[in-house]
Every structure is written in structure tokens, then in C-alpha cells.
């Protein structure tokens, strides 16, 4: 009885699902062959989307837009589905005027992103502002809109956008049907919190910015990055012990992938402000002896493949241990890239596109399917090239940061030498009578407690560390006993 039921179910599936996608494809083929109607491309788009050929539908949707076809309610839904399944890149190459004239919310989102990429932040904010909050891209539009306004230095308007972004993303997160979608909205929500904190930092409201950063949960994938930003806020508030404590969190073994060259410079700067010159010089020395040569080796490896359209993408697919053997920085960078939303979205869309090609090949060998296969293959090729460029840019940006910060380290060294010379001229020296740390030197809030660091990191303590070093900046006359 059970077997009969199973066979019946399979037959039902075969009758309903499989022929329907085939029927839609053949219907699309028929329209392509016969129709001369203005709506030809629009109709083919619908048929292909119904058969779940999202990538194959892109060229027809683009043609419909380029032929100044009307964006009806149904076509708007089709555009939204294409962007959701294949990404915004599908419509990025259409002329801005065509996108503007379409008066579509989905295309306004594409347009906003396009202007943002081109650094036209005013236009970007305008088009993203046209997207209603309840739209599928509402949360992203608020986040990107806020960013555009921040970049255009319209801080009040940006703060309003970030608040709205938080609310909309929060509600979308709770309504999400699966974990992946919920996580996506959680990231947008956290981004808006972080951006709001950055806005306060720009306005030199450091205390408020620290409070805003603390709203981001420690389990967030963006949390390791904000440690450095929080450390900068504390640095500006002259709490150098807290700055050092926040930066030491990067030494936690599980945060090994987050090597930020600027964190090393800030550590040296904090020591410099406490007049602990030997400690500052030790950080500088370590930077020059470990990180810089490692970055030179990384540069040598990457330069060999700088013109490749696939190497960097392939690197992210490799086993993480193999990457580490090649160069420790490659491992770090690959880990960071793999965690970005763009990488994950693009990667899943590649899988979708490959699946489409397989299904198209199975569907038949007609000239129409061959044309669709060739179009989808071209799209994948372009997308892979684009993702490869995205990864390559991140890697070379990292090398540039190492070099830029190497110069900053050099300046710190010069500053220490200059200050040492000043003391010599004044016939004075630093007091140097401080112990290596004391609770007295730690600034803390009412909800922060003391736990001594005994060589091991505890998850709940991460990001809460503070050093207890006393400033060594007091000067005494040379020859006097301490």
C-alpha cells in the first residue's frame, strides 16, 4: 500500500511540476518565434520566471526596459524576483536614464546602488529614499540611503534613516521565514547600529558613540571590526588603558583572522600617549619584523596573478589550511571575504545559474535553448570576473594598508626620538617609577567588574579588557634618584 502511494506521488509530481516548467519554456520559445508584439520580451520574461529560469529571463527583461516597455505591476514583481534571485548586477549595465524613466521601486534600488558606487551620494540618497519601507528592499534601502547621506555629510537626515533602518530590519528579522533570511536582516540591523555609532564619532560625540557600539551583540560577525572603532573613541577620550584593552582582544586565538594593521598603529599610539616609549617601540619593531615581511611575501604571490580573472575566486574555494600554508594573511583575508554577504549571495546565485544550464540542456537542443544556455553562460562568466575583482581589490587594499600604516609607525618612531631629544635638552628624564599596572588606573562604569587576566581569554570578557598602566609622562631632573 505504501509503495503504491509513493509511486502515485512520484507520478503526480511528474505530471504537475516537470511538464509545467517544460511547457513554460516551450511557450516562451513559441512567443520568441512568432510574436512581433511590443510585449514580446515581457511575456517571455514571465514564462521563463514561471519555469524558474531566472538568469535566462534577464536579457528579455533588460530588452523590455530598453525598448521603453511599461513597468506594470506584474513586471515590477518580475523585476523584484530577478534581483532577489540573481542580484542587482543584472540591471547595473542599463543606462541610468532608462532606469529612471521606468519609475520602478526595484530599479530605484539598483539606481541608488549604482550612484553610490559612482560616489554620487546625493542622487543615491534621493532614489533610495523613493523606496517605501514595506518594500522587500526597504531595509537595505534605508541602510544604503543613510550611508549616502552620511557620505554627503547630511548627518541629521542620515541618523533618521538609520533609526528607520533599525526598526524596519528588526521587524523583517522577526517575520523571516527561515534562519538565513533572518540572519540577513540581522546583519542589516547591526550595520545600521554601527553606522549610527560612526556618525556620532564623526560629530566627536565619543561617549555616545561607545554606547551605540555596545548595542551590537558580540555574536555578530561585524563585532570584531568595531573593536578598533571603539578603541578610537576611547583614544579620543584619552582613556588609553581601555584603548589598549580593546585592541588586545585581537590577540584572542579565534580572532586571528581579523588582523587589522591600524590596530597595531593605535596600540603604539596609546603607549606613546602614556609615554611608555619602550613599549611603543616594541610594537613598531614587531610590525616591521613580522607583519611587513609577511605582507611583502603576500604581495609577491598576488602580483603573479594580478591579471587573472579566476585566481582570487579559486583561492576562496581552497581548503583554509592550504591557504595558511601559502601565506597566513591569505587565510585571514579569505576568511573575511567568505563572511561577506556579497560573496555568499553571488556564490549561491552561481549555483542557481549552473542548475539552470543543466535544466536547459536537459530540456532540448532547440536553437532557443542553445541561445539561452549561451546567454546564461555569459552572465556567469561576467559575474565570476566581477567577484574575482571584488576579492582581488580587498587583498590589494590590505597590502596597501600595511604599507600605509608602516609609514605611520615610522612617524611614531621619529616622534619618540624627538621627545627623547627634548628631554635631553631640558636635562630631564621620564619618571619611570610606574609599576606594570594597577586597578587604580582603570576607568570603569558601574556595570563593569574586575577580573585579572591570567593568560587566557574568556568569551564573556572579550571586548571588556582594560590595561591598568600609569602614565609615565612626569619628568624629573637628570641625576636625581627615582
Amino acid at each position: 500500500m505504501k509503495i503504491l502511494f509513493l509511486i502515485f506521488t512520484i507520478l503526480l509530481l511528474y505530471i504537475t511540476v516537470i511538464p509545467s516548467s517544460g511547457a513554460n519554456l516551450s511557450k516562451a520559445h513559441r512567443i520568441y518565434r512568432i510574436s512581433n508584439s511590443m510585449k514580446k520580451n515581457e511575456k517571455i520574461t514571465y514564462e521563463l520566471l514561471m519555469a524558474k529560469y531566472y538568469f535566462a529571463a534577464i536579457p528579455f527583461a533588460v530588452k523590455h526596459l530598453e525598448n521603453k516597455g511599461k513597468v506594470t505591476e506584474n513586471f515590477e514583481k518580475a523585476l523584484r524576483l530577478i534581483v532577489l534571485k540573481t542580484g542587482t548586477e543584472s540591471f547595473m549595465n542599463i543606462k541610468s536614464k532608462t532606469l529612471r524613466d521606468a519609475k520602478s521601486n526595484t530599479l530605484n534600488f539598483v539606481l541608488g546602488l549604482k550612484y553610490f558606487e559612482r560616489k554620487n551620494y546625493k542622487a543615491s540618497a534621493y532614489f533610495l529614499g523613493l523606496i517605501p519601507e514595506e518594500h522587500r528592499f526597504g531595509p537595505e534601502a534605508r541602510m544604503m540611503g543613510g550611508s549616502s547621506l552620511s557620505m554627503a555629510k547630511k548627518f541629521d537626515a542620515a541618523a533618521t534613516q538609520y533609526k528607520r533602518c533599525y526598526n524596519v530590519a528588526n521587524s523583517a528579522e522577526t517575520k523571516a521565514k527561515n534562519n538565513k533570511v533572518a540572519r540577513y536582516y540581522a546583519i542589516i540591523k547591526e550595520s545600521c547600529l554601527i553606522h549610527a555609532a560612526r556618525l556620532k564619532f564623526t560629530n566627536r560625540k565619543f561617549k555616545e558613540s561607545i554606547d551605540a557600539y555596545e548595542e551590537v551583540a558580540k555574536k555578530s560577525y561585524m563585532w570584531p571590526y568595531i573593536l578598533l572603532e571603539k578603541a578610537w573613541s576611547n583614544y579620543h577620550m584619552e582613556d588609553y588603558n581601555r584603548t589598549l584593552g580593546l585592541l588586545v582582544t585581537y590577540k584572542y586565538p579565534l580572532l586571528k583572522s581579523y588582523f587589522l594593521p591600524e590596530a597595531e598603529v593605535l596600540t603604539a599610539l596609546a603607549y606613546l600617549k602614556l609615554c611608555l616609549w619602550d613599549d611603543a617601540l616594541e610594537v613598531v619593531k614587531q610590525y616591521y619584523s613580522i607583519y611587513k615581511p609577511r605582507s611583502e611575501r603576500l604581495k609577491a604571490i598576488l602580483l603573479k596573478y594580478k591579471s587573472s580573472n579566476t585566481y582570487f575566486l579559486e583561492l576562496t574555494k581552497k581548503n583554509i589550511r592550504d591557504s595558511e600554508k601559502q601565506n597566513p594573511f591569505i587565510r585571514n583575508l579569505v576568511t573575511q571575504v567568505r563572511k561577506t554577504i556579497k560573496y555568499n549571495l553571488d556564490f549561491s546565485s552561481f549555483k542557481l545559474a549552473k542548475n539552470e544550464i543543466k535544466r536547459l540542456n536537459k530540456a532540448g537542443k532547440s536553437s532557443f535553448t542553445k541561445m539561452l544556455v549561451s546567454k546564461v553562460q555569459n552572465i556567469i562568466k561576467q559575474r565570476k570576473k566581477s567577484l574575482n575583482w571584488f576579492i582581488k581589490k580587498r587583498m590589494f587594499d590590505f597590502i596597501n594598508k600595511i604599507h600605509r600604516n608602516s609609514y605611520e609607525m615610522f612617524k611614531i618612531k621619529i616622534e619618540i626620538m624627538s621627545q627623547k631629544r627634548s628631554l635631553l635638552y631640558k636635562n630631564t628624564k621620564l619618571v619611570s617609577d610606574r609599576g606594570r599596572g594597577s586597578f587604580e588606573n582603570v576607568n570603569r562604569k558601574s556595570d563593569q567588574h574586575f577580573w585579572e587576566f591570567k593568560g587566557s581569554f574568556w568569551a564573556d570578557e572579550l571586548g571588556e579588557y582594560s590595561f591598568g598602566l600609569k602614565s609615565n609622562c612626569a619628568e624629573i631632573k637628570r641625576g636625581r634618584k627615582q
Binding site: 544604503m144 550611508s147 564623526t202 616622534e415
Partner: protein, 90 residues
């Protein structure tokens, strides 16, 4: 007659000039300078007449020491990070 006498006098004068130049050249070549092989100066015994204008003690004019102004790294915003967040979203 007088022109002839003038010509003869002119020739004699020219010859005289030439002879003088030749003899002067010969005497120039013959000039040789001789210096003393050894001469001793007793500086302590020298007496110079005049008045001292420079100050007697050693002095250095004070000037402000050059302060090198090397601006150290300072973060004023996180625009780069804001842009990056958007670029890695889509």
C-alpha cells in the same frame, strides 16, 4: 729731402723700439725669486696696535629650537568603512 730724413728717423725709432722690447723680454726670463728657507716668528712677542672689537668671552646666540611637526595618525571619521559596508552588501 725732408721726407727722406723723416723716413730714416722713423726706421731708427722702430729699430730702437724693437731692440728695447727684445731686451725687456730677455730680462723677464731671467728673473728668479728666492725665498727664505727658514724664518721664525715669535707670536708671543708680536705687538699689534689697535683695539679689540669682539667680546672677550665665548657666547652663543639663543634661538628657538626647531620643532618637527609630524602629524600622527588620527581618525576623524569612518567613511571608508561605511562605503565598504555598502559595497560588500550587494
Amino acid at each position: 729731402m725732408s721726407i727722406r730724413i723723416i723716413w730714416i728717423m722713423l726706421v731708427i725709432f722702430m729699430l730702437h723700439l724693437l731692440a728695447g722690447y727684445a731686451s725687456a723680454k730677455d730680462t723677464k726670463e731671467k728673473i728668479s725669486y728666492k725665498y727664505k728657507k727658514y724664518e721664525r716668528f715669535d707670536l708671543g712677542n708680536l705687538e699689534i696696535k689697535g683695539s679689540v672689537v669682539a667680546p672677550g668671552d665665548l657666547s652663543v646666540r639663543e634661538r628657538e629650537r626647531k620643532q618637527f611637526d609630524t602629524p600622527l595618525l588620527d581618525r576623524k571619521d569612518f567613511y571608508e568603512e561605511i562605503r565598504d559596508d555598502v559595497m560588500k552588501l550587494r
